[in-house]
Amino acid sequence: MSQPTQEDEVLAQQAAHGGTFPASAPEAKGMSQGQIVRKRFFGHTGALVGLAVFIIIFLLAFTSVGWAFIPGWWKYSHLDVSPLVNDGAPTSSLWPLAWGEHPFGQDRIGRDLFAMTMRGAQQSVIIMLIIGAIAGMIGAVVGGLAGYFRGWVEAILMRLTDIIIIIPVLLLAAVVAQMASRRDEGSWFSGFAASNGVLVLGIFLGLVSWVGLARLVRGEFLTLREREFVDAARISGASNARIIFKHILPNAVGVLIVNVTLTMSAAILLETALSYLGVGVKSPDTSLGLLISQNQEAFATRPWLFWFPGLFIVLICLSINFIGDGLRDAFDPRQKKFKARTAVETARHSSTTTALAAEAPKGS
């Protein structure tokens, strides 16, 4: 089914430019690209709110129940079983504002849902970051090599991505889940997977979700390598490595970062879907997707089991999407703040003066 993949979006957007070169007119004098991007990003309300929400969730999730060997400030862990308080219903209340023993409630055997949700949020964030790192890395390398060297390198790499793109993720996930839950003695993979289920899932999803990125990066490289500044560098004797890293990559980094964030938000949903189908994270470890799929039957009767983890999924996804949206606007010099009315007026006005005036970029 056509679950929205936002890589497609950018892929086609890029294609829209075809062979034309993006007009990267300087925004304002005396600002580096980094400064411009930062300025634009911080001018984007949605992105700022998204960033704030994400940071709060991140801190909450990692400090409350602790991470790795660092203990957290919350009194329960996601594995602790304690007696049912209030029949498992949440003890927190808005008025009077109180936190209570189990603010999000408990599941049927008395595990604290707040601890589980926090643990789940941690896992989801970890999966997301791993996917972002792996997919971004492989996508950049494969796409970059294919786009820069072309020829047989491109042919092989792109056919490879074609193969990976048409193998269903669900099937791969089922295989990985199966391998991870196996416990053959002597198999290093299952040994590793047994204790690091989330890590394995994240790595696996990273290994399959780079293909879209690779295609985008390749497209970007294809246009950039034909640019004059690359020719200039080549003539002045720069090595391939220098051209790639010093000249092309910095120009392609915007596309990369934007799409990595979008891949990451899609990855959280993918994890949710896989856990729902029973091939994602396995209990007793937990993730947000697993929590809501385990508790979907509780939707009408013990809604807190369903709503709290669901709320966190939505919050993380929303914030990442808004951050990505802000980054896209910030990195893309073509995306100006555009107002139809002012545009009309300026255009009309300028048509009476000079054609050149219309070319002058409006202040952003």
Binding site: R108, Q178, R183, F299
Partner: protein, 591 residues
């Protein structure tokens, strides 16, 4: 076997269904009788799986939904009621034990019982069932890859394999089986419980003139011998192939011979993977009379979707996979007249300890058993489903069986009623054995049971290692020695005492923890040849004690089943075995 692979489910005694009235004031409507309900009407029943075969007896077609459809469209010598009694249907025919030594059983079909194409149901049909269920003609040798295996029967041929070629008599209406040695499960051996496949259709397919030619042909063939395989018999092969796969279909076949009925209903239409509709069989008068004119089966996989379909009036009767939440949701529907029933099923979860590794010593096993918080497990996992749930105290009986109480109080299970950490510590004497527990990680009940056991056992000094495996792996790991204890489920075998040695006899197929007790083995050998019910119970009670005495492990709790039906329908009653609510479909009626 008809109702799933593992359930030769005829119980010894009753399992009562808890009929929960929907709410305090609403006590009516739960005990309807067919007398007050009107004739006619329709009902929609929800099933999880989609129908795909008109022959539920084959290894491939053996699925609960196929069995249920077959049950409603065929009749036989008996059916099983929800107290797990074998109820004889004398209007169809009778069967009785003619002699004890050698064990001889005679089946006679009444005059007038016929297939929906008009052909009489005769001894030829019984003979076909016998040939298919006994594997009499098979001479296949798996190692040498010689010989032929004709019918691919899903059930256990062990009982009927003891019989010789039956005697046909009474103008082709009776068949007499003679066993070479006593067989405990004779009453359900020629199990259908109904007669499903018409011999005359198969005979026609194989080019045989009529059912008489069919009988003669089979009579002329010798018993198959794997050591001296013969060339395959063409006619029998043709018939067996048709029996094996000819009835597999997801749509209504154009050839009506493929779905002949001899029961209360006949299939009218099949919508692939969506629904199946049965209407009344006009000729039928040889058994319980059905009230509804039409029954529609719809397939819905997930439990919440089933509940919502019931709530929305798209379904009348559902039996979802129960969870506390599903049950609460169903109970909340009582305001719109939905009745919810719940009860114990024959399946139960248990903890088995290996007789090897750190648990090789009886003291350690016993110490471990003392730490298992069985009450807590029951409270947290099944109490929400069934407020009266208690830990199961017998390895071989379920509480509703008459022999359970006696066996449970004498088998030594009382020592493990409560958690006894101090006792366990004493037995351990300072040791801290590392115990790896294997269970199905994808089954939330087992995950929760594991969490609770880990919590408690750790207090006594056990180091618990999480050996949980995924759904597709834990079964393979059973008995492979990579774990020390395991949590999983059995289905109580009921009268099918053949299942008892399968689990508990030395070196048998499903004896995964390598329990071995020569005396118990002897008792089990005796059990399998005992035809008397009382004697069977006595032997099982003794075996139960032997198992508990050796600190085998602990049964934990029985699974809970749920069914619910809308206010349009009456007459639905809970059933513990895999027939589910279908067992008395003829009593279903529209209000």
């Amino acid at each position: 076997m008809r109702f799933g692979r593992t359930s030769k489910a005829v119980g010894i005694a009753a399992i009562a269904a808890f009929v929960l009235s929907a709410c305090a004031g609403n006590t009516g409507g739960t005990t309807p009788t067919t007398g007050t309900a009107k004739q006619g009407g329709t009902a929609t029943v929800v099933e999880t799986n989609a129908f795909y075969s008109f022959n539920p007896n084959t290894a491939d077609g053996n699925n609960d939904i196929n069995s249920k459809v077959s049950y409603a469209t065929h009749s036989g010598f008996y059916y099983i009621d929800n107290k797990l009694n074998v109820v004889h249907n004398d209007k169809f025919g009778k069967y009785e034990k003619v002699s004890d030594n050698p064990l001889t059983v005679k089946y006679t079909i009444n005059e007038g019982v016929k297939w929906s194409d008009g052909a009489p149901v005769s001894a030829a049909d019984l003979l076909l069932q016998w040939a298919a269920f006994s594997g009499y003609y098979d001479d296949a040798n798996a190692e040498a890859k010689t010989g032929t295996s004709y019918f691919s029967y899903a059930g256990d041929p062990a009982g009927l394999a003891l019989t010789d070629f039956p005697e046909i008599g009474d103008n082709n209406r009776s068949m007499t089986l003679k066993y070479s040695k006593p067989y405990a499960d004779w009453e359900i051996a020629l199990a259908g419980p109904s007669i499903d496949v018409p011999a005359h259709v198969l005979a026609q397919k194989a080019g045989l003139k009529d059912t008489q030619a069919f009988i003669d042909h089979l009579k002329g063939m010798p018993r198959g011998d794997a050591k001296a395989p013969k060339a395959a018999d063409a006619a029998l092969k043709t018939m067996a192939e048709m029996w094996n796969t000819g009835f597999d279909t997801k749509t209504l076949p154009s050839d009506s011979n493929l779905f002949l009925s001899n029961g209360p209903y006949i299939v009218k239409s099949v919508s692939q993977d969506q629904s199946l509709t049965m209407v009344r069989n006009k000729d039928y008068n040889w058994g319980p009379t059905a009230s509804l004119d039409e029954i529609t089966v719809r397939y819905i996989g997930s439990a919440p979707a089933q509940v919502q379909a019931l709530k929305n009036g798209e379904a009348d009767i559902i039996a979802p996979q129960p969870s506390a939440d599903t049950l609460d949701q169903l109970k909340a529907l009582s305001s719109q007249g939905v009745t919810v029933e719940q009860g114990n099923q024959l399946a139960y979860d248990h903890l088995d300890l290996n007789y090897s590794g750190p648990l090789a010593e009886k003291n350690v096993r016993e110490a471990f058993m003392k730490t298992v918080p069985r009450k807590d497990i029951v409270d947290k996992i099944v109490k929400k489903l069934d407020p009266n749930a208690k830990p199961l105290d017998s390895q071989l009986f379920v509480p509703q069986q008459a022999a359970y109480a006696n066996s449970a109080s004498n088998n030594g299970s009382s020592a493990f009623g409560d958690v006894d950490i101090d006792g366990a510590k004493k037995l351990l004497n300072g040791a801290t054995p590392e115990i790896k527990i294997m269970y199905n990680k994808d089954n939330p009940n087992r995950v929760d049971a594991f969490s609770l056991i880990r919590e408690s056992a750790a207090k006594a000094g056990f180091k618990i290692v999480d050996g949980g495996l995924g759904a597709s792996d834990w079964g393979k790991a059973l008995g492979d020695g990579t774990y020390d204890a395991t949590i999983f489920g059995w289905i109580n075998p009921g009268v099918g005492v053949a299942g008892v040695p399968q689990i508990f006899r030395t070196n048998n197929g499903s004896n995964f923890n390598k329990f071995s007790d020569p005396e118990a083995d002897k008792l089990m050998d005796e059990l399998i040849g005992t035809t008397d019910r009382g004697k069977q119970d006595e032997l099982i009670t003794q075996i139960d004690k032997k198992i508990w005495d050796s600190a085998y492990g602990l049964p934990l709790f029985q699974s809970i089943g749920v069914d619910a039906y809308s206010d349009r329908i009456t007459g639905v009653k809970f059933m513990p075995n895999q027939t589910g609510v279908w067992w008395n479909f003829w009593e279903w009626a529209e209000k």
